[in-house]
Amino acid sequence: MSTRGRRAGIAVAAAVILGTFAYLVYGGIGENLVYFLTPQELAARGDRAYDVPLRLGGQVEPGSVVWNAQAVDLKFRITDGAHSVAVHSSGAPPQMFRDGIGVVVEGRYHRPGVFESTSVMVKHSNEYRAPKEGEKPAEMYRSLQTDAGT
């Protein structure tokens, strides 16, 4: 084979491989996009909201938290003021999880209208806010403290 022919062959082979791969990547990305939604946006999506990976963000609706420590089973509602969505998780809530705090849950929304969550994250904020009164760990866990520190 001439050098030119060989080069052309290599170029064509590379183009075919890259083209195939580009197609796969394009399809793969479409299938694996995880939309970040608020409860209101979730409601607006209608049927497209069900059974696809999603992230749902909002506040923990006050009074909605049911935490069964023995069964490691957590139920609560996420609200954005307009809508609220029931969430279920079979994992412990993050330590600072409580009424009214911003959370992001990851998982899928299922038919009866429950968001089955695989992870519950208390919303990250880049600004560090000092804990409010009543949230200070040293007070919360006073009974556990065994020494005054070093």
């Binding site: 600072m96 040293a138 009974s143």
Partner: protein, 694 residues
Amino acid sequence: MTRILGSSAVMVAFATAMLGMVLAVAGTRLRRPELVRGAYAAVYVNFGLLAVASLAMVWALVTHDFSVSYVAQVGSRATPTFYTVISLWGALEGSILFWGLVLSGFSAVAVWLGTHAREDRRGDGADVHRLMPYAAAILLGIGAFFYLLLVLPANPFLPVSPVPADGPGPNPLLQNHILMAVHPPLLYLGYVGMSVPFAFAMGALLSGAPGGTWIRLTRRWTMAAWMFLTAAIIAGMWWSYEVLGWGGYWAWDPVENASFLPWLTATAFLHSAMVEERRGMLRVWNLSLITSTFALTILGTFLTRSGILSSVHAFAEGEIGYWFLGFIALVLIFSLSLVAGRSDQLHTAGRLDAVASRETAFLLNNLLFTVFTFTVLLGTLFPLVAEAVRGVKVSVGEPFFNSMTLPICMALLFLMGVGPALPWRVASRDALRREVALPAALAVVVGIATAVLFGGGVYAVVTFTFGTFALAVNVRQFTSGAKARMRAHGEAAPVALVRLVGGNRRRYGGYLAHIGAITVAVAVAASSAYKGETEATLRRGETMSLRGHTIRLDDLWGRQEPQRFVLGATVTVLRDGAPAGEMDPRLNFYTTSEQPITTPAVRSRPSGDLYLNLMAVERDGSSATIRMIVEPLVPWIWAGGYLIVLGALISMWPARRREAAPATVFAPAPPLVPGSAAARPLAIADPDTRGART
């Protein structure tokens, strides 16, 4: 006072860098060596200035001088001194300052080594001296950009008024583990180190000497930076494993991808550079890889430091993003037009002789790494583009990255076995069969055994199969070489092994790095495919079990430390009902953070880790929720990382110069110099950069 010292040092560094650039270019064009020497002096002076500025910042941090803006941002009187010192790289401004320090240091070393290069047997010296002024100009240019950042948008030395009495302290995530003293500096050494090969590449083009010299210089510098980057990525995984508490080490987080992207292109370059050295092929390709690597380090810095992502690492925010985008555009336009303008000198001399050859293996390697890079890049940038264009907030899920990149990883694993078994130019069928028959048989046995005994899915089985194959081929390079020496010289086995490696460090260093990479791949496959995980709420004295491991919650306790309140659980590991060890997963509450930072407890054995994370504690201390994870082979990920670094070290360790006679030992195979290199240089001795400037 410290403030004025620091900020003026940075300002002078910027002016010196600009002046040095002008001197370097003018001195070369006007043939005035004293001007070029002035440019080199500027490089050394800048190192001194950045050292002064960095020391001033460390001093301000340690003395809690809250009149300095950066100290007011990250300092706190309660933070232990150790974490105060390392908060130098804990936030945007300090990390840019640290970047400047590392860059000026690398530049000084590069210029010193370059100007002290001897005329060696390859006649590199003349070429080095010709491209050095341009390389210095490029390094000074990159430096000028970073020093300008320090003067304007990322100035860490701004005055603060009124001076606060105390500060918030560094981000709690960054002061919770010793690895934060290791991971960022390594990452910077790796990232910034990629500036040097880029500078040499551009210097070679500008000086009109893109022959064999640049690739040799560049390869060694890339190897050094690559070694640091590898170590940094492994240390970052380790940190994530030891601090974040989810029992994983890699999540395709954009920030992880940012460190991984230049690693991919640099790895591709380290392989394709060998093809250029041996066969004079792929010159333009290599220039593109080195340029991409450099551009990706800047892109990575942009992603992590501009606040464009919201992820655990992306702490900083500000206008700085536009500066980085502008700089990336400048770098790409400059280097692309330079390559285009020099295309006449870049035609390749060699050609591919046969499909079954090591060249082909390297070409495939490069194709795979390129595709890998594009996939990760696309997955990383897609959410940003989607948000900018369509206004939706999306993220690209882990399944995308896994399903796209795992097949590539499998192919690379296979190639790691085939490549070393293939000779350059043409492989004879018999020789190839001899090399791979035994490893292939071994691999099939291990593969079947894995599938039958453990299952765990296609990828785990394929990884074990290909991993065994590649491992056997690479190990055999050592054993068969050592055996040949033992026969020929009557040496004892260890002596033969040491002399074998010493006689061709590059080659055997490379094989060792392969063995490390295979180890990492196998350990990652095992730890993800055979991971076990459970969560339970325990009262004191209650136990939980997983995969033959049993733990008992014995105690819950609290402890006030100067900068944090620690809440811990004392857990006993039971074997056959008898205590076999103690573990203490903890939660750390920093005064400035709402959320606690976890300190998981990890019990490592060669077979794998037992990993406990304290999830929640009842306020009255009656019970605690604990996540228990069993992960096989995790320690081998870190061990594999060490092996890769060791391999890189061996590979780039300079050969002793005095041993003139055994020099032939280092080049046993076909001539290293591309056929064209000797014939070309004089014709382009007069550098003409008119067509290349932007």
